[in-house]
């Protein structure tokens, strides 16, 4: 089963991933045991009690209590999974990172059909946003007059994160419900407009040459199928280098946070296309 399920699951790059995969595995074990057990019984019975072989039906039928034991067994197993795995795993999933963890904060805002990523920059403070400022060049509606926003970095469809540092993604949506899915991180969270949810995970692997993705898992319109972003996990140094470069690009000469042209070029075609549709 480890192999069977594991073979199809995507690669895991998150600290909490093994726990979830493990649980997926255990549940599938339970399912397999039940299915094979009942299945074997089923086939045996169909063979043994076919009318050609058993002419006289037995009014009483089964007299033993094994089935009751099996049912109780299933209930107990489910209860154990629930109490032992599912509930603690969920509690861990929704609770904040420990105080001393120094989580990396980033904001992600879904829109039809792109993921806007917003880094707070070196000051660690997100610049103010105003919905009336939203425009094609300012997808997040950042307020240019807010000093906290001067060093902010925004990207479209590119989520770069440092490895081995807890991440808190503040997730929301501008228009309709999207769902922020990072298969390799075992992360999925609906982005509901009007709500901001903190999504927490810790990447434990750099992405290197692999293409890791942000998927949109909730139907959000005609471009839902191509609302794809990219997830890049960098080593701490590389990450620092990248973000410093980005900050430098927008700091003194041009304080207005706009989308860097390099960014759009770096994003693949689909992303650019997505931006277009978002504008039209």
């Amino acid at each position: 089963m480890q192999g069977l399920i594991g073979k199809y699951l995507p690669e895991n790059a998150a600290a909490h991933g093994p726990q979830l995969d493990h649980m997926t595995m255990i549940v599938h074990w339970l399912m397999l045991v039940l299915f094979v057990g009942w299945g074997a019984y089923f086939i045996y019975v169909l063979f043994r009690f076919r009318s050609g072989r058993t002419e006289q039906a037995d009014y009483q039928g089964v007299k033993s209590h094994y089935s009751t034991y099996a049912e109780v067994g299933v209930a107990v197993f489910e209860a154990v999974l629930l109490v032992g795995f599912a509930i603690p795993a969920w509690a861990a999933w929704v609770s904040p990172h420990p105080e001393d963890a120094d989580p990396f904060m980033v904001r992600v805002v879904g829109e039809q059909f792109a993921w806007n990523v917003h880094y707070p920059g070196p000051d660690g403070i997100f610049g103010a946003r105003e919905i009336d400022l939203v425009s094609s060049s300012n997808a997040l509606g950042l307020d240019p007059d807010d000093p906290a926003g001067a060093d902010d970095v925004t990207t479209i469809n590119q989520l770069r994160l440092p490895v081995d540092r807890p991440v808190t993604v503040l997730l929301s949506s501008k228009d309709v419900i999207h769902s922020f899915a990072l298969p390799v991180m075992r992360v999925k969270q609906d982005a509901v407009p009007g709500m901001e949810v903190a999504v927490r995970f810790t990447p434990v692997k750099v992405s290197g040459d692999e293409r890791w993705e942000i998927g949109c898992a909730q139907l959000c319109g005609l471009g839902h199928y191509r609302m794809r972003g990219f997830l890049t996990i960098l080593s701490p140094d590389e990450f620092q280098q990248w973000i410093d470069g980005e900050v430098a690009k927008r700091m003194p000469p041009e304080p207005e946070p706009t989308v860097a042209p390099e960014e759009a070029a770096a994003a693949d075609e689909a992303a650019a296309e997505a931006l277009e549709t978002a504008e039209s």
Binding site: V45, F49, G61, L82, S136, D190, V192, P193, G194, E213
Partner: protein, 591 residues
């Protein structure tokens, strides 16, 4: 006191001046209404399937012109026969809606319930025949509205069968038609459910106590309660959404939305999750509406063809009541990833696990009923037997979805699609086929061909698994549902993408596998072998106490009086025969 004292003869004269229209179109006879429901629902089943075949083509061969029908879809939907994403979304939403609300529920409840329940309880008709007729015609109107919505500007609803706002509120006009259609369908179901409950409570024939009811009747009773109490919230939600769309209210629209670069200037302050709560408050009980009647049919067929009573009849009855009850308090397991805290998720996970127990009990009882039987493998029995492991797969895969932690990875992937299709397609549809083959002789007095039946069964059985099994693989790999190109863009989908073609080809073959069924159905009406009143040698009233087809008015030539439980096959005092519920002398097996 006995129903016998209602004197059918006195009213004989009324029958003669019944016009053709009153007899066959606006009929108040539950049997005619049942057949109307059945035929309409089968047409919608086929229609829903055809929509899906177009989608499956697109999934397997994205961007290639659809063969055969591609040309007639119109430039707005499929220019040059190549499907547009908008159209794909319409097809998806309408496939889901049509299958659930226009095909399976009307078939399971409207057709089988209507035709069989009054017969099984010895009633001359449903309690409110006029209401019954209205229920059908409101349903038919709802169907027409849904169908017509394909032709309005912008096409049919395209926000999924779940119609989550704000997407659905900002969607094209088809969504308003969808809402209107839903209001009609809900109204129809409400009328029907009141009728069923009153019929079962009030019109049971003398001696037919609660614990002597065939399991099918119990299943229909619980189903009727689910329809009665779960549908109204969706009706309310439907009004809200309609108002959001038409009168610019903001029930589901939060403040500060920017749609396509434009700030939405509504009042705001609404909650998108409110819709989800109201929708799933209906839609979870609804899935048991899809499965309970199916279990009922399977139970009837299995008891009859094992020639022995159902094992654990009482526990099945209690389990289904409990199932019905619990189904109202699990709805938020569809919403784990909307930002749910630990307390609420613990509650809904726990109820979800609890609700799996009665399903396990019912299924175990059906499986154990086979032990000691003398099993006849005729066509209805094959479909009923196949239901068991298929429902087993569907139900078991509900478990990893039911734990919120494992649902994180699986939510909204093809794993979910696989899960519920196993329950509704090779599950419920198979049970419906079993029902058609089983009760066809009741309706026509003729049997359907067993050979064509098997020719229908085996390919369908294999192909259904070929379609839906790979979905689990894709789902585990993290492939999202509702993707117009089947996930072609995604790197993580690549290793499992080749399954799309396999599944689609299986789906096309499944279409051809239905031909023997359609041929069989229509040919047998006139050409089927005549088979007498009780071809399956059954004990329940619809077979044992009524001729096939039943008396046009009043069903029974003589109102039966019931003396025993529903499944007295091979009883100890008469091991070679069976005791019909109303009989005073045992009937014996022939041949």
């Amino acid at each position: 006191m006995s129903v016998l004292e209602t004197h059918p003869e006195d009213h004989e004269h009324v029958h003669h001046d019944e016009s053709w229209l009153r007899k066959y179109v606006f009929s108040q006879d539950h049997k005619v209404i049942g057949i109307q429901y059945g035929f309409t629902a089968l047409c919608f089943l086929l229609f829903g399937f055809l929509l899906m075949l177009m989608m499956r083509w697109q999934l397997a061969y994205p961007g290639q012109p659809i063969p055969i029908v591609g040309g007639i879809l119109g430039a707005d939907n499929a220019p040059g026969g190549i499907m547009l994403p908008e159209f794909y979304n319409q097809l998806g939403a309408m496939h889901g809606t049509i299958m659930v609300f226009l095909a399976i529920v009307p078939l399971a409840v409207g057709a089988f319930g209507n035709y069989v329940v009054p017969l099984q309880i010895g009633a001359p008709d449903m309690a409110f025949p006029k209401l019954n007729m209205m229920s059908y015609w409101v349903y038919a109107t709802g169907g027409v509205v849904m169908f017509a919505s394909f032709f309005v500007p912008g096409g049919a609803a395209n926000s999924g069968w779940t119609s989550y706002p704000p997407l659905s509120v900002t969607a094209t006009a088809g969504q308003s038609w969808w809402l209107l259609g839903m209001v009609l369908l809900i109204t129809s179901s409400l009328l029907g459910s009141v009728n069923f409950i009153v019929t079962i409570f009030q019109l049971r024939v003398e001696g037919l106590t609660w614990m002597r009811l065939p399991f099918f009747v119990w299943a229909q009773l619980v189903t009727a309660f689910l329809l009665l109490l779960a549908f109204p919230p969706l009706e309310a939600a439907g009004f809200f959404q309609l108002m959001d769309r038409v009168l610019d209210t903001s029930f589901f629209m939060p403040s500060g939305l920017v749609v396509s670069g434009e700030v939405v200037r509504g009042a705001g302050g609404g909650s998108p999750l409110l819709w989800q709560h109201l929708f799933w408050f209906l839609a979870h009980p609804e899935v048991y509406v899809l499965i309970l009647p199916a279990m009922g049919i399977v139970a009837e067929v299995i008891a009859n063809n094992t020639r022995k009573p159902l094992w654990g009849y009482k526990s099945m009855v209690y389990a289904s009541i409990f199932l019905g009850f619990m189904s109202f308090i699990v709805w938020a397991h569809h919403m784990f990833l909307t930002g749910m805290g630990t307390t609420i998720s613990t509650f809904f996970q726990t109820t979800t696990m609890i609700i799996s127990i009665p399903s396990v009990i019912i299924l175990s009882a059906l499986l154990l009923s086979l032990w000691g039987g003398s099993i006849r493998f005729n066509t209805p029995m094959l479909f009923a037997l196949a239901f068991l492991p298929m429902f087993g797969i569907g139900g078991l895969t509900g478990l990893p979805l039911g734990f919120s932690a494992t649902d994180i990875h699986l939510h909204d992937t093809y794993y979910v699609i696989g899960h519920f299709h196993y329950v509704v397609a090779p599950g419920t549809i198979f049970a419906m086929f079993a029902g058609v083959y089983y009760w066809f002789p009741k309706v026509t007095g003729r049997r359907m061909s067993d050979f064509l039946g098997k020719l229908h069964f085996w390919p369908s059985f294999v192909l259904m698994n070929c379609i839906f099994m790979p979905m689990f693989i894709q789902g585990l790999a993290g492939v999202s549902r509702r993707l117009y190109d089947g996930g072609m863009q995604y790197a993580h989908a690549q290793p499992v993408l080749h399954w799309n073609q396999f599944m689609s080809i299986a789906a096309f073959c499944l279409f051809f596998a239905q031909i023997p069924f359609v041929v069989n159905l229509f040919l047998s009406i006139k050409r089927g072998k005549e088979c007498g009143d009780n071809p399956w040698q059954a004990t329940t009233l619809e077979w044992a106490a009524a001729p096939s087809p039943p008396v046009a008015h009043g069903n029974f030539p003589q109102t039966p009086v019931v003396h025993r439980g529903p499944y007295e096959y091979s009883p100890p005092e008469h091991p070679k025969g069976f005791m019909p519920q109303h009989a005073t002398v045992p009937a014996s097996e022939e041949g």
